[in-house]
Symmetry: C2
Subunit: 453 residues, 2 copies
């Protein structure tokens, strides 16, 4: 980070001193993603200037790495010719990514300046359902034929490599584009020049359908350690590939969504800063309303015991502690289960095993917290006779609600998964509600018994 900062300062100095040649040299040595980071620190007006200094290929690579805001600024500043040149350098999946972020007038300009075959490809990818494998794929792959020799293959790779996103996995197809097999560059390099592709290709191909969820497609890449996965249609015709770097992005995006859901936020399409205040509000307020409702129900239960509270107001002082403990115990269990299921470590058939584990954990935690709680109440009230009842009711409540919270922390996410709902979305508000209600219900039930109210 400091490195980029220094570079950014050096670039600014060179800019001010108008030493464009040195600036061009400095930039040419940088990675595209670092140039993108640098431009985001500079005033908007000079970014087109910087961009024009870059060698064409680097310029296009840096453009892909920029925030949508900057990309829009640049496209607005481009002449039609410049835009055309940049678009020619881009891979299909990157172009589609950019188009999806741009306002309609910019999209129109992009499509106008793409050549007809590219335009057709863009429209095709845009037509796949959102979040499908088809919507993130690119069509820049190397295809080979069954009867080619290894030498032919190398010649073909050499000819087309410059426009392909990966050349390390090549796809063997017939004249109808039916996917017959894959050959890795490693296999090619280890084979003899006159070996025939048909004999050396791997026919047991792991692929995804265009309509598969993009997360499933990314998970396959990660599970089988693939560099790229072929995307086929229902007739097993090869229509594109998804590469490992795009899979990492899909996995990261899904993870961010899960973090949002766990914090009771509807995941946003956009980054934090690009999401407006109103959209942020919309993504959060529904869940808070739901949780407010939960608080109202809990309050209604407390209201039933107003007489008890009027008689012994000190009883109320334990409620926050009990509610905090039960809510957090439940979240601990549900998070472990939700993540365990996402990582495919915990399966639905493990239900009893997980629940039994959580119950034992709950008893250990309950015993510890119960003892600490008893000790502190007895100390605080100098072991007055009344305080023994306080200690007993709160400690028993605590053990009970920790067991209940941990149980529902297991049950709710697994039930959600069973019902094909999103465990992360369902678990959080429902779990809080159940924990809160159980806490006050058990606590006041015990109070009624112990204090004979």
């Amino acid at each position: 980070m400091t490195d980029i900062r220094t570079m950014s300062e050096r670039a600014l100095v060179l800019l001010i001193e108008r030493k464009y040649k040195e600036l061009r040299e400095l930039l040419s040595e940088m990675e595209p993603v670092d140039i993108a980071a640098l431009t985001s620190e500079l005033p908007r007006d000079i970014i087109p200037l910087i961009f024009r200094l870059l060698p064409k290929e680097l310029a296009a690579d840096a453009f892909v790495e920029m925030d949508a805001d900057l990309q829009e600024t640049l496209i607005q500043a481009f002449s039609d010719l410049e835009l055309k040149e940049v678009l020619q350098q881009l891979f299909l999946d990157d172009t589609v990514d950019i188009i999806e972020e741009m306002p309609a007038n910019v999209v129109k300009r992009i499509l106008k300046n793409s050549d007809p075959s590219m335009r057709q490809d863009i429209n095709e990818v845009l037509n796949y359902p959102k979040d499908s494998a088809g919507s993130v794929m690119t069509n820049e792959y190397v295809d080979l034929r069954l009867k080619m020799t290894v030498e032919d293959a190398f010649k073909r790779i050499k000819r087309v490599a410059i426009d392909r996103e990966t050349i390390y996995t090549c796809y063997v197809t017939d004249q109808d584009r039916i996917l017959l097999g894959v050959v890795t560059a490693k296999t090619l390099m280890l084979s003899e020049p006159d070996d025939i592709i048909e004999d050396i290709m791997e026919t047991n191909v792991i692929s995804s359908l265009t309509t598969d969820a993009k997360e499933d497609c990314a998970d396959k890449i990660s599970k089988y350690d693939l560099l790229a996965i072929p995307i086929v249609d229902n007739e097993n015709r090869l229509v594109g590939i998804v590469t490992f770097d795009d899979a990492i992005d899909v996995i990261k995006e899904a993870t961010e969504d899960d973090f949002a859901k766990m914090a009771a936020i509807t995941p946003s399409e956009n980054t934090y800063f690009r999401t407006s205040v109103l959209s942020h509000t919309k993504n959060r307020v529904f869940w808070l309303l739901l949780l407010m409702l939960s608080g109202i129900v809990t309050g209604a239960i407390i209201a039933k015991f107003e007489n008890a509270i009027a008689a012994i107001p000190a009883l109320v002082t334990f409620i926050p502690m009990l509610m905090d403990t039960s809510g957090n115990s439940g979240t601990q269990a549900s998070t472990m289960v939700i993540r365990g299921m996402a990582m495919e470590e915990i399966h639905l058939r493990d239900f009893i095993r997980v629940w039994w584990k959580e119950i034992r954990i709950a008893l250990c935690i309950g015993a510890t917290l119960g003892l600490v709680n008893t000790a502190r109440i007895l100390l605080q009230y100098h072991a007055a006779p009344e305080s023994i009842y306080f200690a007993l009711t709160t400690s028993i409540t605590m053990v009970a609600v920790i067991c209940i919270a941990k149980s529902f922390g297991v049950i709710l996410p697994m039930l959600a998964k069973k019902l094909r709902l999103d465990p992360a979305v369902v678990a959080s508000p429902v779990l809080t509600t159940i924990c809160d209600i159980c806490t006050v219900a058990i606590y006041f039930a015990l109070i009624t018994v112990f204090f004979k109210l």
Copy 2:
């Protein structure tokens, strides 16, 4: 998943019918990770039998993908010769991974059956600090020399490829192993046979130090879309590489740790099932004790207003709702900020910008919740004169605590980062405590004013 299930059943049938030849054929067509998943479903005793049916290389690859439990079972069942054969097939980083999970007696057997140079390499990697790039690297890379031709390079690759984790990025070193540059297989394939490596290599190499954090190393791989990153020592000597598939694992592990921290759990080294009940308890109970303490402080504040509660017990019924709302509002903001910082979208210098955004969001949310709350209280109490005071105190408290909660949701993680503490660990318990305390303090302060108690 169903596919593996069916295969698993077919394998079992073939096993029972002792059709080992068909079984071997079935297994040979499967991916290593799927064979590992299949064995985890089968009775322990027959796993060595299955393992012995597999072709050697596939057997070793499947072994790497298995759970530590299964690996241990297999190693116990292996003869020394078998163990030696499997170890010879493994890459260094996988061997180290396995060793780190095994009990001492198994480790001893593994080291005894490794050849001396392998044993030395293992010990070297084991000596790097835990969580360092050195601890996850492997030394199976292709190294080239400056003066080699492309033809020489291809010959060398062909000779050594079988033992190398990747051949798509080759590293150019001198006789002292100093890293001079990298050449990708793509560059080699696009060059002429008599081109000299020195002329075609990339000298601007992105590398990591052995002592760098493994997360930083993985982030570099993801940021620069690398297939592998070279790991060098302080003298820029090449000591190993980390490949993209290992980087994905490191990123996933770090993400799981963040999920645990957000749920107030100390991250575990092991998977859910391999962590004992006592370890789970230990990882969770400290945070619950801390949050219990927070509850006690909140309770102490409520205790100060026992007279008010005795006079109007209904006041208490609003506490759960207010506490839930403030806690959740705070978590929403802190999660957005923590993840934004982890994704490098939000930087410390953005503090004012983020805070101002959250305050506006808080006001929008506060207004919505306040209105809903006022409406429901007036409805519930049929707009009795007292209920107007209830509605006012709770709604004003709500708007105030949402603003405070969102503010601290921004301040705490950013402060933690500034102090080089882990935002995810610091934010959660401290934030809950602050939200709880502010809620009851503001609520009762308003009550004292409105109800003149």
